[in-house]
Symmetry: C2
Subunit: 300 residues, 2 copies
Amino acid sequence: MNLPTLRQLHYLVTVVELCHFGQAAERCFVTQSTLSTAIQELEGLLGAQLLERTKRKVIPTKLGIDLANKARDIISMTERLVLDAQVDRKPLSGVLKLGVIPTISPFLLPKVLPGVRSTFQDLELYLLEDQTQNLLERLSAGELDCAILALPFDLGGLEQQVFWQEDFLVAFPAGHPLSEGGPIASKALPDSELLLLEKGHCLRDHALAVCHMKAVANRASFQGTSLYTLVQMVAGGQGITFLPEMAVNDEFLAQNQIAVRPLSEKGPHRELTLVWRASYHRKADLALLADCMQGLLEKG
Amino acid sequence: MNLPTLRQLHYLVTVVELCHFGQAAERCFVTQSTLSTAIQELEGLLGAQLLERTKRKVIPTKLGIDLANKARDIISMTERLVLDAQVDRKPLSGVLKLGVIPTISPFLLPKVLPGVRSTFQDLELYLLEDQTQNLLERLSAGELDCAILALPFDLGGLEQQVFWQEDFLVAFPAGHPLSEGGPIASKALPDSELLLLEKGHCLRDHALAVCHMKAVANRASFQGTSLYTLVQMVAGGQGITFLPEMAVNDEFLAQNQIAVRPLSEKGPHRELTLVWRASYHRKADLALLADCMQGLLEKG
DNA sequence: AATTATTAATGGAGAAAATCGATTAATGAA
DNA sequence: TTCATTAATCGATTTTCTCCATTAATAATT
């Protein structure tokens, strides 16, 4: 369908209001001829007479008045649309879809979410827990706005801001021969006892990377599905594993019968980072979010 | 305020729907570059990002989706406006403001209005009774759509369609010396007994014109304010007067004790006509109305 | 790793439109 | 009659819109 332009509608509204082409033209900041032509085109387009005019008088027709009223509505809706677009959005307000990997989620979120929520009152946070690769796909597809992942991993074209870093600790069953002492070198660990998370968890790869071990050294049947179950296996004496500091400080894990020793390999062993698409339009907001989380973690 | 064009909004709606510039362009029957430019201008105008795009993907922002929804509403309102304008209006439907002079109104309307109303079911007729000059002013001002008047009078620039014509009769008190007989010449009438309507009624002028009398021949104190009161004065023996055929056939007047004789001056003495502004946009409707009234009067 | 295909942005040329200024014709008023 | 007002009209100009061709970036495929 061929639509009139908003400009034509605006002209109509003004002429109907003033019943005078010259004055209406002045109010619209155009010449009378412009207005005259525009109205004629509008009438032509609609196939109906909107104004009855003599050289002396302008009388809107019933239809002209009706349409001018509708036109007023249309124009004011459009004005509102413009205003809506220009609402000075508070930073980090509205919906934000955040993905988090499972080896970070249960330890980080309880620490930072209350603080984040109180800092950004108008933030509506939607959380999705999944493994790195899946999160990256969803992020690329636009289903997520950002994700919290652990470096190192292949960023692709994504941008990021690291907000935390931590070491790994080795967890032994209570009473294990190696369970006592200070920093221990990964070389000193018995490969055959190592328990890891199942494939897909980046923590698995990171742990192996730290101690230069090969994944093949582990028994598939003992791959854990979460850090909680993994710790319970360690506590049950079925093997040893690596844990990020964050997990060790967690209350739940602390209740289990395990002993932890730091690694003598120094490092930060894993970096927590907030990532987003390079084309994302609210980068500034996300930087604020990363800053906020960092601040909360540093305060303890 | 600077408003976006409906075209820009339409482009936005399409791109948000398809998430693909090329496809959206195709659907809009323009090239991709046209669409691309238009969206960029829209974003510039609104001062906000509506779409997040890489070379590979297009992801609408929250704002983009919101505004596209609003835009859809605006566009469909505009489409409805166009449809409203093109509604094939039945002839003589809707409001019609009709003026009628007092010497026609009480005799004509009861005869024709029922028929008019049943012929044009959707007609909303607003009636105004006043003297010719006042009706003409209101007609010119656009307060009336048309008027029923009696010729002859100065039409000015108005257009008209005559739908009836009638003679005048002379009315005498029952028992008046001249009350019996056939056609009578106006010259034979006693000037001093002539009663007329007050000034402003065209019937007064028409009556005087028929018999070439001067208005000054009449006593001001006996000028009637309506044909009903005038007839009662005649019945009371206070004088004679002219009546249009229409009034003579009226039931109310027939009950009064008066006698009527035709004038020997032949010819239609007054013509009933429907008048409208030359610029009026529903002339065709009014011609139908005049035709209709004529038909009803001819049937009796 | 190199090649190919896809896609949005960009630049320049041409077409379409909107607007203006000047004039005309009609209308009322003085 | 003459004058003032006003909407329509015409031609010229400016602005906007659109297209085509090309580019740069990105994935997918070889």
